[in-house]
């Protein structure tokens, strides 16, 4: 029996363009800390080793500083760490694993799976890697790695990276992992667990219970399902026990809401207040509905305020449809009677017509409201 930590997609050195400088620094540090927490997990779960199934680094073109800090975090892991090159960090000519800082400063417990030759990680247990050697492999690397393995009683763990064919819509991708060949190898006893990376959401693939995506230990985007986890696998020839453990600290939250009045804005404010770990939370809003000028001003103030607290607050333009039109109350507050009232009426008509001119007219109305009520910009 063997116990190990299955993880993947650390993507150390990742940047998010919607984060400002401070938030980006926190985000980068959190990914390093996640490595240390995985080490803590491995120790607590008495694991024999940690296997990282691809995309250890965000890119092959990282600064020396990122590489050195990453290695420093890996050195803190108390068990051997096996790194599989993935599509973000393939083992090509520019590979980070072949870079001078990596080669010079690689801790003794850190190993790179550079070939498919099985490595005996503990007596009777072999680790078989299917490393990416380029960003666009021309074949199923996992299938190639397991094809020639014998069913000789050795307990084998396969580390692979990429989309499984049953989950990938791209039938033209030659690098897809064929679930059939993997499950055939499992059935033949040639391999006993297939640890996969690339998919950021934890996923149990197929019906064997021995093919898994661990997901990314720190979330990276809004469309990930159940990220921020690492898997502890307890394995022998007859059983496979997989448990999930949370190691992530960041949250990527999408929120869709309809705004029709001031009360809805207030409700949105309460939702913001309920978010935990604000400095490690990025929010993407889909706002729909129609707001008056006064309520829209309140919304803007709310968003400005929350942008100071949260790691990021974005309005998802593609999924938003918020129309700003002066309400009767707005118009009453403006107290316009002469030509300005007529100008206001014209702008309201333009805004109601929608489209690009309508958006400009809505902004013009907001400006008119601000100028007429004497508010600051």
């Amino acid at each position: 029996m063997v116990r190990f930590v299955h993880t993947a997609d650390w993507q150390l050195g990742m940047s998010r363009h919607f984060l400002d400088t401070d938030a980006q620094a926190r985000f980068t540090a959190a990914r390093m800390d996640a490595v240390r927490r995985i080490g803590t997990l491995a120790e607590a779960q008495r694991c024999d080793f940690v296997v990282v199934c691809g995309d250890v680094f965000e890119s092959n073109h990282l600064s020396r500083q990122i590489v050195l800090r990453s290695l420093e975090a890996m050195a803190a892991v108390p068990v051997p760490v096996f790194l599989l090159p993935g599509n973000h960090d393939p083992l090509d000519a520019s590979s980070v694993f072949r870079s001078e800082p990596f080669r010079t400063h690689r801790p003794p417990n850190v190993h790179v799976l550079v070939g498919a030759e099985p490595i005996e990680v503990v007596p009777g247990v072999a680790l078989v890697g299917a490393p990416w050697r380029s960003k666009r492999p021309g074949s199923d690397l996992v299938a190639a790695a397991v094809a020639e393995l014998p069913a000789d009683g050795t307990l084998r763990v396969v580390a692979g990276h990429g989309a499984v064919d049953v989950m990938s819509p791209d039938r033209t991708d030659p690098a897809r992992v064929a679930l059939g060949s993997v499950e055939a190898a499992l059935a033949d006893g040639r391999v006993h667990f297939v640890a996969l990376g690339d998919r950021h959401s934890r996923t149990d693939v197929g019906g064997s219970g021995r093919v898994w995506y661990s997901g990314t230990p720190e979330p990276t985007d809004f469309d990930e399902v159940d990220p921020g986890l690492a898997l502890v696998v307890e394995l022998d020839a007859g059983s496979c026990d997989v448990t999930t453990h949370r190691v992530g600290t960041w949250h990527f939250v999408e929120h869709r809401t309809e705004l029709v009045d001031g009360a809805a804005v207030t409700q949105l404010g309460r939702w913001f207040e309920s978010l935990p770990d604000k400095e490690r939370t990025a929010v993407r809003l889909s706002l729909i509905g129609t707001l008056g000028l006064e309520d829209h001003s309140a919304l803007l103030e709310l968003l400005d305020h929350q942008a100071q607290l949260l790691a990021s607050v974005q309005r998802w333009a593609k999924r938003s449809d918020l129309v700003v039109l002066p309400s009767d109350d707005d118009l009453g507050r403006l107290d316009l009677h002469g030509f300005a009232a007529r100008a206001c009426d014209e702008l309201v008509s333009m805004a109601a017509a929608g489209g690009e001119p309508g958006a400009v007219a809505a902004d013009a109305l907001a400006l008119l409201h601000r100028l007429a009520t004497g508010r600051a910009a």
């Binding site: 050195g13 960003k135 300005a340 100008a343 902004d363 013009a364």
Partner: protein, 895 residues
């Protein structure tokens, strides 16, 4: 606001003045200049605007003249439903009092009164409009600017349906303009913040693109590197296979080359055997040639001995002929020398005679030159003397003519004077003693004496009688001319150094004689010199003397005759002829001796050649005999013949063996094997070179990738994208704000302008209504944005304001004020005060303007101040007030 009454006390030059105005309609205040009309108009402004303690220059300017008192103004007004009396005194004992008479009586004084009135008027009266509508003296030609007066605007806006809205709405345009001005110029050009943002956004996008390009280049390098690795992997085994194939082909070529070398060796052996056979044959032929050579040498030696004998005989004959020829030549040479000596002697005689003739010619030339030099010396002395005399003679033809002319003039003047002189004839009837000019003269009885009187003559007959005879004035003039002419003559004679005309003529004759003689002397001198200078002549004399001295004979003898000279020359030429003949005979004898000597020399050489030929023939025979003997000692003639036969047989055998081996090999085989080996080597080398290049490229790109891979390109790209996102958001926000502000400003401005056009319509309508009374029914106007008349239209013909006559501009300005006053009258309005207007208006227009005044007066209060009441005589229902002149001001004093 209505003005009911106005009183002035101690105001400028006005001691006291009270005016009570009609509450409606027109009040005409008439008065002479300085009666206080303008002061009355001004006083109401001071009362409403300046506190009683004001030191403003306008207040100080109204101090009363000639007495120490404070100016005082009191007005009775009604406004906003109140009627009040308001009084102020400035300068001394200043005070303010407001007395409200209705509806609720109230009295306020001091500063509170001032503030109360200001507050009251601010609520109900557009004081600015009141000032604008008032037309002080000289201002009636200016169009009032009505656009900014709230009451006018409010009235017009009300008439136009409230287009202008609240006052704050006008400010909105300004604020929107200010907001739009943050982003764009009035012409729509983006301003620095927007331009800067756009530039930053473009820079950020460019930075992203550059980083992306760098990463794509890196990825391309990675792909290239992988491709290179694959190609190296493909090429390495092929290179090895090609190397193996090349070595096999090279071995095969060596084997073929060895077989071909063996055939070549057989060919060489065959050729060697054939050569040996040839050599053996040659040995037999050589021996036969040696024998034949000995025989030929023996015959040649015999012939050479015969030739030596013949040469010896010919040499003996030639030596005898040479001896004779040499003797003849010596004799001819002696004769030639004798002839030459005779010729030299006759030549010396001839030369001596020629030298004597030349010396005699030089002596003759010297004598002629010395004679000419003497003549020249004399002539030059004569010329010098006469030139001196001529220089001393001052006469000239002109000078003589001048003396002649003066002499003639003097004679003529003297004759004229003499003719004019009176003559006194004294006839003594008896002896008479008289004093003539004091000189006693006695005239005998019966005698007559005539006395010419040049100037005057005093005759004293006795102590009783003195007669003075004086020449007349004409005689005096002629005498003076005579004296003057004489003086001219004397002056000219003195200048010429002569006494009179005769003397001058002699002097001129002397001068002419000198000139003639000098001319003759100079001609003689020219002849004597013969075109030469005196120096030349002297030089020639010296030269002749030196030549003569050089001959060495102090006294040259007589020159030889021509005949003697000719005879000496003939003798010399004859001797020369004989000498030339002797020389030619000598030359011929010498030539013959030389020919004989040459013949003897050639015969001696032939003798030597014959001797040498004999020696050579004998040597050659000896050598041939030696070689033949040596050859026969080495190999007898029979042995040579046997060896030649054996070599011929060996050569035939070797040739057969070579031809048999050559038939076994292919001529192209070796060439093909070599080409195959060469091709294989080329392919091997090409593959090795390509492999080396690939490996070199691979090493280079791996090195580059390693360097670039550690540069943090990914993070730099991410940072560039983050910056680009942030700047793009900022730019989008700014663009949205700019677009919004521009749209808001454009929309507000357009509606405001439309509103302005709308509220300008009532003003134009009122103006045209009043103007029709003056200019006719086809009168119309156009107003500008400030509600001023920009063009007047009559009968459809528009005329710009600036091109209107002064009278028309004055009438239109008055009508503008009336129209504005009518428009604001519904809200209380303000009184309109005209001070001495319509001074440029003709009588016809005055009458029609009166109709316009009367029409407007139905709705507003009009006060007209004038010093010409006749201008307003057509105002039938006007209230007329008269202002008396202040005391001390004359009635017709100019104002």
């Amino acid at each position: 606001m209505r003005l009911h009454r106005l009183s002035l006390r101690s105001y400028r030059g006005v001691a006291s003045c009270d005016l009570t105005f009609a509450e409606h309609g027109i009040t005409v205040v008439e008065g002479d200049n300085e009666a206080g009309k303008s002061s009355a108009a001004e006083a109401l402004h001071l009362l409403l605007e300046y506190r009683d303690d004001s030191s403003h220059r306008r207040v100080q300017a109204v101090k009363p003249l000639h007495h120490d008192a404070g100016a005082e103004v009191e007005a009775e007004l009604s406004a906003d439903g109140l009627r009040f009396t308001y009084r102020k005194r400035w300068h001394r004992d200043h005070s303010t009092q407001l007395r409200i008479t209705g509806p609720r009586p109230e009295v306020v004084t001091g500063r509170a009164a001032h503030d109360r009135v200001r507050e009251l008027l601010a609520q109900s009266v557009d004081l600015e409009l009141w000032r604008a509508l008032s037309a002080p003296q000289g201002a009636a030609l200016e169009r009032p600017e009505l656009r900014d007066h709230p009451s006018v605007v409010a009235a017009l806006d009300q008439a136009a349906g409230g287009a202008l809205g609240t006052p704050g709405e006008s400010d909105l345009v300004e604020r929107a303009s200010s907001e739009a001005g943050r982003w764009a110029t009035p012409l729509g050009r983006p301003k620095a913040p927007l331009v800067d943002l756009r530039r930053r956004a473009a820079d950020a996008d460019r930075s992203v693109a550059e980083h992306q390009a760098a990463i794509e280049a890196l990825d391309a390098d990675v792909t290239w590197c992988a491709d290179l690795e694959r190609r190296v992997a493909d090429l390495a085994p092929r290179s090895e296979a090609l190397a193996l194939a090349a070595s096999v082909a090279a071995a095969e070529a060596v084997e073929v080359r060895e077989r071909h070398a063996e055939v070549e060796n057989l060919a060489v052996a065959a050729r060697l055997a054939a050569s040996e056979a040839v050599v053996a044959g040659t040995g037999v032929a050589g021996r036969a040639a040696l024998v034949a050579g000995v025989e030929a040498a023996e015959a040649a030696t015999l012939l050479a001995g015969r030739a030596v004998d013949a040469a010896d005989r010919a040499a003996e004959v030639s030596a005898a002929e040479l001896s004779d020829a040499v003797a003849a030549a010596a004799a001819a040479a002696g004769e030639a020398e004798a002839a030459a000596a005779a010729a030299a002697a006759t030549e010396a005689v001839h030369l001596e005679l020629r030298r004597a003739a030349a010396t005699a010619q030089v002596a003759s030339q010297l004598a002629e030159l010395e004679s000419a030099l003497g003549v020249v010396g004399r002539l030059r002395a004569d010329i010098a003397r006469d030139e001196q005399a001529l220089a001393a003679n001052p006469s000239s033809p002109d000078a003589l003519a001048a003396v002649q002319e003066a002499h003639d003039e003097a004679l003529k003047a003297e004759a004229a004077a003499a003719a004019a002189r009176p003559t006194v004839r004294l006839e003594a009837l008896r002896h008479l003693d008289v004093l003539l000019d004091g000189e006693p003269e006695a005239i005998g009885a019966g005698a007559t004496t005539d006395h010419v009187v040049a100037d005057r003559l005093v005759i004293e007959l006795s102590e009783h009688v003195r007669v003075t005879v004086a020449a007349g004035a004409a005689a005096g003039v002629l005498e003076a001319r005579h004296r003057q002419a004489r003086q001219v003559l004397v002056d000219r004679c003195e200048r010429l150094g002569v006494d009179d005309l005769q003397h001058a003529r002699l002097l001129e004759d002397e001068r002419r004689a000198l000139v003639t003689r000098l001319s003759s002397q100079r001609a003689g001198l020219g002849d004597a010199l013969g075109g030469r200078q005196v120096g030349d002549l002297v030089h020639l004399v010296d030269q002749a003397r030196q030549e003569l001295a050089a001959t060495g004979s102090p006294a040259p003898g007589p020159a030889p005759t021509a005949e003697a000279l000719e005879a000496a020359r003939a003798r010399w030429e004859d001797a020369c002829q004989r000498s030339r003949l002797a020389c030619r005979a000598s030359d011929r004898a010498a030539d013959q001796a030389a020919v004989a000597e040459g013949s003897a020399r050639r015969l001696r050489q032939a003798q030597e050649h014959a001797d040498a030929g004999l020696a050579v023939a004998r040597g050659d025979l000896r050598q041939r005999l030696d070689r033949l003997g040596a050859a026969r000692a080495s190999t007898p003639d029979a042995a040579l013949v046997d060896a030649a036969a054996a070599a011929t047989v060996h050569a035939r055998v070797a040739d057969g063996a070579w031809r048999e081996a050559a038939a076994q090999v292919d001529d192209g085989e070796l060439q093909r094997a070599l080409q195959t080996a060469q091709r294989a080597a080329v392919e091997r080398d090409g593959a090795a070179r390509a492999l080396a290049e690939l490996r070199e490229d691979l090493a280079g790109i791996r090195s580059r990738l390693q360097l670039q891979g550690e540069g943090g390109l990914h993070e730099r790209l991410a940072e560039a994208r983050r910056l680009a996102t942030a700047v793009a958001a900022e730019l989008r926000s700014a663009e949205e704000r700019a677009a919004a502000s521009a749209l808001l400003l454009a929309t507000l401005t357009r509606h405001r302008d439309e509103a302005a056009r709308a509220y300008g319509a009532p003003m134009r309508a009122e103006l045209e209504r009043l103007g029709a009374l003056v200019f006719g029914d086809d009168f119309a106007v156009e107003l500008d944005d400030e509600l001023r008349i920009s063009r007047r239209i009559l009968g459809g013909d528009p005329v710009p304001w600036s091109e209107l006559s002064v009278g028309a501009r004055e009438q239109l300005s008055v009508l503008s004020r009336l129209a504005a006053a009518v428009i604001v009258s519904a809200d209380g309005g303000v009184p309109v005060v005209f001070d001495d207007v319509l001074g440029f208006t003709d009588p016809g227009r005055l009458e029609r303007m009166a109709a316009a005044f009367a029409d407007a007066a139905g709705r507003c209060q009009i006060i007209v101040l004038t010093c010409e009441p006749s201008r307003y005589r057509h105002l039938a229902r006007a209230t007329t007030l008269s202002l008396a002149r202040p005391r001390g001001v004359p009635a017709r004093q100019a104002g």
